[in-house]
Symmetry: C2
Subunit: 237 residues, 2 copies
């Protein structure tokens, strides 16, 4: 008989396939390769990932439960298109959670934590030098998830990953001109405050940083997309 201690915990909850699809779509959204309102047809995803329809549908359900994808009955899955109100909610939640995280990190972070954060910013600088826009966008968002990861809290990490991804959608929708990536020096100053054990400074830095992103957006514009298209195409441009 098998030893009780050898109980297998290898029975993972979600199949690798499924998680892979979810992760890939997450990444694509974060990197702004998938724009809001993009249709995600089941057939296309099946072919792309080489899996059956069931897996795709489960992945889409998970994505929709996290606000990354909108499922419309009998009409398919679309990359989510957050409203201005939803956008504000996301920023409020991010402010609350991220200020809390950096405060606590400043009160005591592991050495490896600091190192991984510095290494991250290093990568950002490289991407900037190489003018690798996709990588820059990806790393800008990932930095914030990395902060949560340093806190060693899987709940907060998961939530923050969702919020950062939705922020990508929001920037794509409401960004004035370009996908404003986080300026790298702001990340550095956040790390410095944490490393120096200054909770208040860390909180101020990240609040300033998040507000900086939010203020670069135009969340007040009357309407979006749909009417634009209609007017542009019916009117004489």
């Amino acid at each position: 008989m098998k030893n009780k201690a050898e109980e297998k915990l290898d029975t993972l909850r979600t199949d690798p396939d499924e998680q892979m699809i979810v992760d890939r779509i997450y990444s694509a959204v974060m990197e702004q390769k998938l724009a809001p309102r993009t249709k995600l047809s089941e057939l296309a995803l099946c072919e792309t990932f080489g899996v059956g329809r069931m897996r795709v549908r489960r992945a889409l359900l998970l994505l929709s439960s996290q606000g990354i994808v909108d499922l419309r009955s009998n009409r398919g899955a679309y990359v989510a298109c957050p409203s201005a109100d939803e956008a504000r909610e996301v920023f409020v939640a991010r402010l609350m959670i991220e200020t809390g995280i950096v405060q606590e990190l400043a009160r005591g972070i592991s050495h490896e934590g600091i190192q991984s954060l510095r290494a991250h910013v290093e990568k950002e600088e490289v991407a900037r030098k190489n003018n690798d826009r996709t990588e820059m966008i990806r790393l800008s968002g990932a930095f914030h998830v990395e902060l949560a990861r340093c806190h060693n809290n899987s709940v907060l990490t998961r939530v923050l990953r969702e919020l950062v991804t939705r922020t990508s959608l929001i920037v794509a929708l409401f960004g004035s001109n370009r996908g404003s990536t986080c300026p790298d020096d702001e990340h550095t100053s956040i790390i410095d405050a944490i490393a120096n054990g200054q909770p208040q400074a860390a909180e101020d830095s990240i609040r300033h940083h998040i507000l900086h992103v939010q203020n670069s957006l135009d969340l007040e514009q009357t309407q979006r997309a749909e009417p634009d298209l209609a007017k542009i195409l019916t009117g004489r441009m």
Copy 2:
């Protein structure tokens, strides 16, 4: 042709059936009617809710993505059984989010918000007088979700709902003797601080309150359940 303005937004993402199943299981866990490790067989759920297997499986997938249910490959779905580490994560997250919420509520809450909170505590008192244990447990948790709802932030509300529900599981697993329900006066003092516009007092109250719950638990016990059972049944009791 249909008017553009009449666009139907009625295409809800999740079918009512599905959401109903999820909600019912959520409620049952919150009320501690569903204990951790309880098996949720597909057949039983199909019969209970009178729906097909697909709906049940989708509901279970959603629940598992929120840590309420564990899906074990080829072995079925079980009510989640959080580890002590996960429990600590939940409390850390709750402290961070809830202190943030009450602080901001204290800086400005709508009149209806205060009223709904007071009404909620009223209900708790009634349940207490009636010795309605189930209702007391339910309301104790719901109060915290209600705080988030007053903040008008659907993201935070959803996260907090998940955290409160997982807390029910944690209390069921690690509670010393009984399902310790939140003492009603602590809720009242939180509301008072909010109503009086005292962010710091509100934060202190809720921190004290959450820590009170956490400290009533025994998160340090060496092992749980499984080994106990083995020893009890193999040994001569």
